[in-house]
Each structure stands twice: as C-alpha cells, then as structure tokens.
Symmetry: none
Subunit: 227 residues, 2 copies
DNA sequence: TTAAACACCCAAATTATGTTGATGGAACCA
DNA sequence: TGGTTCCATCAACATAATTTGGGTGTTTAA
C-alpha cells in the first residue's frame, strides 16, 4: 500500500551513478521525493535548495567525504534537525559507532538491499512524523491535542477541558453526526451519568467562544461539525 | 561522562540472563535507567508500571515472543509511541524487514556489540527528545543540564533539585501540555506517591524564582511551558 | 397547533488550583 | 558532633474556575 502523496524528501548522495539510480528508484516507488548528488560539495548546495528531511550520505566520495559533509551540515542551523543516514561499504563496528556518534540517525552497510533500505527509512520517517505536533486542521480552525489549544483564524481560544474534548470529538470526523449517547460515552465515559442538558450547555459554550457556528444541530439526533 | 539525570528509561527483554546483564550494565553506564524482563508476558506487565521510553525485545522467547509482544503493546494506547527495538539472532533480511514494518524503530542482530548498541540507542533517543543536548535555550531562559543552572536574561537563578527537574521537563517540549500524571512519573518516579498539591507548590516556587510566568496552567489537565 | 427538542441564563455544587505555614529530614559546615 | 540552612512535602484554608441541573422561553416538525 503506497502513500498517495510524497511522505518525505530525501537527498541521496553517492559517487556511483548506478547506486544513485537504484536507491532513487526504490525510494520513489515507496512514495518519497528524491534528489541526488554525486559528492559532498554538490550535496550541500542541493540540500540548501531542496530542504530534504533526510540526507543519505555515502562515506567514501571525492570532493568532501560523507563524514565531513555531515559535520559541515550539522554546523548549519537549518540542517541541525535534518536526519542523516550513512551508507557505506566499510562494514566495521568502529566506523559505525563513529558515524552514529556524529549525529547520524542510521548507518547502513553496502551492498544495498533495496527493500530493507526502504523499511529502515520508513521507520525513521514514521518516528519523525509521530514526534511532530498532532493537530487537526479544519478550515480556519486548528485543534492542537498536544498543546491543548484551539485557534480560529489565528486567535487562540481558551476552552475548558470538557469543551475541548467535546470539540475534538466532533471535529475528529467532520460532517458526521454524533448521537447524544455517543457523545456521553466518549466525553463523559460510561460510568458518569449526566443529564441531557449538560451537552447542550457545553455545545453552547463552544459556539459562544468560537464566535461562529461550526457545530450544527441535527434535531432529535445529535450534533455534527461542519465547515 | 555521565549525565546528571537519567537520559531515558529502557525495558530490556530477553530470556537469557547473561544477555540481560550485559545489556543492562552497558545501558546503565551510558546513563539510562533500565528494567529487565525475561519474557513477553513479564515485559507487558513491567512496561505498564515502568513506562519505558524504549523497549528492547528479543524475538525468540518463551511466553509470547518478541513479535507478538510488540503487536500487543502497539495495540495499547499508552505504548503507541513507545520506541521498540528488536534484538535477535535471526539475521536475515526478510525478518528484519518484517520487524521494521511492524513499527519497530531498529533491528539489531546478535551477537551484541555493546558499544555499537549504545550508539544506536543514543541515536534513537537523540531524535526522541534531544535530551543529550546539555543546554536548552528558550528565549531569555537558558537551562544548562550539565551545570545544573538556570539563567534568565543573564541572571543566574538558583533552583532546587525538584524545581530544576520539573522546569527541565516542561521546557523540554515547549508548548506541549504535561499531564499531572506525566509530571509525577517523570519527576517523582513511579514508586513515590505524593499529594497533588506538591506539584502546585513546586510550580509556584519556580514561577516565584523566575519572576515571570513562563508556565501556563491548563486547568483540569496539567501545565505547559510557554514563551 | 402542539409536543418535543432545543437554547439560554442562573446559581449551586463540585472540582481544581493557589497560598501559607509547619514539619521532618537531608545536606552542609564549622 | 551539633547547629544551621535548605528542601520536599503536606495539611488546611482561600480562591478560582468548571460543571451541572433547573427554570423558562423559543424553535421545529409533524
């Protein structure tokens, strides 16, 4: 199952054209956007333009080897957080440790096994995406679960806990109607028993605070979030 | 050079006592806090109490193998984001791909090379929370983990141990809300039981000493650091 | 038209947080 | 070792905010 859109941008650096092609082909098949460079100098240039999420560096290359290239990239603030993966024919423990300690995220020995390479890269990106902020964006409304904030057209809106949870629930599936019972179960839990009015009041407060009516009442059924 | 506070919590799971000991010893020397388990069932139990950042799973074990254990952990919401590393004597491409595709963050073949293992784990943690950085700088505030000092606009502020740890935790992910429970687990540990007011008191002391309110209360939820 | 469903406001109940001072224990220093 | 200071915690109270349920008026759909 391939992702529909590019999952990330990768700069592949190696002095052997064959290898660049094989890697590039496989990464593209896996949904990544790739750019290639044939040595360290070219890599730094292209990185500045392409802004990759991950840079794959061969260690032995003319015009600045992989280690030096990595060191130089790490010095530049814009590449401080860029992931780096070393790719090398040197398969000894010492250089692997050195590479990782330099701040690389992975170290893969040649010969390249394309499917394995893709799996490892997927693992790196999976982690990267998880660590990024989890937010729901719906039109002008942004709900940030981590920060526990809601922004509407750039203005932060302070919601109370229950209000936040309720809005989050409705916004999790825009357009879908949530029955009153569903809302009670999800937001208040099965143990707590509260009256029907309680939901109304919270809905009202959300509408009040947002200033716009993004929550539609479906009479006799429940509520839904709509843009 | 040992970090002043543990850089991360690791649960090591293997059925061979020797291996547990070797790994545990090396991780502790590198500054990690470790707990061990001898099979999958024990791993899940201990994970629930210990709340590790990373779980190292041997694949072949009695009482639920590593793959199944990982699958089960991933199903539990509290371990969705926990890092998993497979450790195995199986050194073939197919099972490595399978392991990584299951959501593992790394896959390391036995025999174990301790220094390499530590480097790989450091690489994972580096990405996770940049906790290796000795300094956190946020606006006018500088937190130096090594010197155990906090500076605000150039003035040094003397914080007590718990205050420092609490501030450091909140500042490690600015903007992100930390639940009271998370704070208790991270700063006080799982064994100690302290009252709710204790957190408030420390928060208050930090606010007092800083002179500015960089810590925002999210009622009913927790606290967050904000510039 | 007429119930049912809903919105709105209010005030009470409940819960969360902030503050202060007291206590015991650890660390420090002479 | 004895005294001193600092620290972490707690208890009790103060304050603030959230949540709830009831009363009342309005809208809606049949």
């Amino acid at each position: 199952m391939e992702p529909a859109v590019a999952v990330g941008k990768i700069l592949v650096v190696d002095d052997e054209a064959d290898i660049l092609e094989i890697i590039s082909y496989n990464l593209k098949s896996a949904g990544y956007e790739t750019v290639t460079a044939k040595d360290g100098l070219e890599a730094i240039q292209k990185a500045k333009i392409f802004r990759p999420d991950l840079i794959m560096l061969d260690i032995m290359m003319p015009n600045k080897n992989g280690i030096d290239t990595c060191r130089e990239l790490r010095r530049l603030p814009e590449f401080k957080d860029t992931m780096v993966l070393f790719l090398t024919a040197l398969n000894d423990e010492k250089s692997e440790i050195e590479g990782l300690n330099m701040g690389a995220d992975d170290y893969i020995a040649k010969p390249i096994k394309p499917r394995l390479l893709v799996s490892r890269i997927n693992a790196l990106f999976r982690r990267l995406n998880k660590s990024e902020e989890q937010q729901i964006q719906l039109g002008d409304l942004i709900i940030d679960r981590e920060k526990f904030t809601v922004t509407y057209k750039g203005d932060e809106i302070i919601l109370a806990k229950k209000e936040f949870e309720l809005l989050q629930l409705l916004a999790s599936k825009p357009g879908r109607v949530f029955l009153r019972n569903e809302i009670l179960n999800q937001v208040w839990g099965t143990e707590v028993i509260v009256g029907d009015r309680t939901i109304d009041v919270h809905i009202r407060k959300i509408r009040q605070k947002l200033g716009v009516d993004l929550i539609t009442t479906v009479k006799g059924v429940g509520y839904k979030f709509e843009l």
